[in-house]
Amino acid sequence: MNEGILGTEAPRYADLVLLLEIGMGLALLIGSVLARRKRFRLHAWCQSAVVLLNFGVIVLLMVPSFQVHVSPRIPVRLGKAYYALATVHAALGSVAEIAGLYILLAAATNILPQQFRLTKYKLWMRRVLVLWWLVLMLGCATYARWYIPDWFRR
């Protein structure tokens, strides 16, 4: 019946997405360490792979799930943590992913016109990394609210 692998009430795909997202968050941290050690090519590969893989996860799994479970109920039920967490996660996650893709385009390609290129890469990369981890924590909170009953009942 498509049961999950983490022992919660979640279906298997939700467990796999959670593990994948945590893995990608850790990979970004490793990528940032690579940059500090001047291993810039490895850093570029690592961060680019995460940003592109996450884009695929968002488009193929998260957006369809959001459309079925959350968007029909907003804004009416936004007062419930179930919907509020998922909505904030989706909103900030979209910003983080778009920012990641923008940095990827600016840093790794010549597609963007000169006036749209970044001048302070480090600053923007660090900001996106912080935002990314915030979104990851919101995602974990959403998972807990949706699939772990014992955490929220007295």
């Binding site: 049961e3 279906p11 109920r73 915030l134």
Partner: protein, 119 residues
């Protein structure tokens, strides 16, 4: 020092907001396991269907009511019936015209299972 403080603040504030949202819990409701033969009811509460196995007569209409504080679905394992996502206090009904055993589950929480036996 100032930069470190800004970083800590930028991490801590959203995390606190997320925790507050998570902790905004709702009260639980006790399930009623006493369905009638013609029009039976299954209550969904605390990630379970109650009663888990329901026996009804042919032609009976079973109504599932979500008394949980999060959404659930009612989906036949054999594809006989399938509800949309039902939030708190929303209902789903299905009339069983043929005898048989109808296992079902919640597609959001696949460990939630139940069975309707139609005699």
């Amino acid at each position: 020092m100032k930069r470190t403080s800004t970083w800590v603040a930028s991490l801590a504030l959203p995390v606190m907001v997320a925790m507050l949202l998570v902790l905004a819990g709702s009260p639980s409701v006790t399930a009623n396991d006493q369905p009638s033969a013609a029009a039976a009811e299954v209550k969904i509460d605390n990630f379970s269907f109650g009663p888990q196995t329901l026996t009804v007569a042919v032609g009976a209409t079973v109504t599932w009511t979500n008394r949980d504080d999060i959404p659930h679905t009612v989906v036949s394992t054999d594809g006989v019936f399938k509800s949309k996502v039902r939030d708190t206090d929303e209902k789903f009904s299905y009339t069983f015209d043929k005898a048989g055993t109808y296992p079902y589950f919640c597609s959001i929480h696949p460990k939630m299972t139940g069975t309707v036996v139609v005699q």
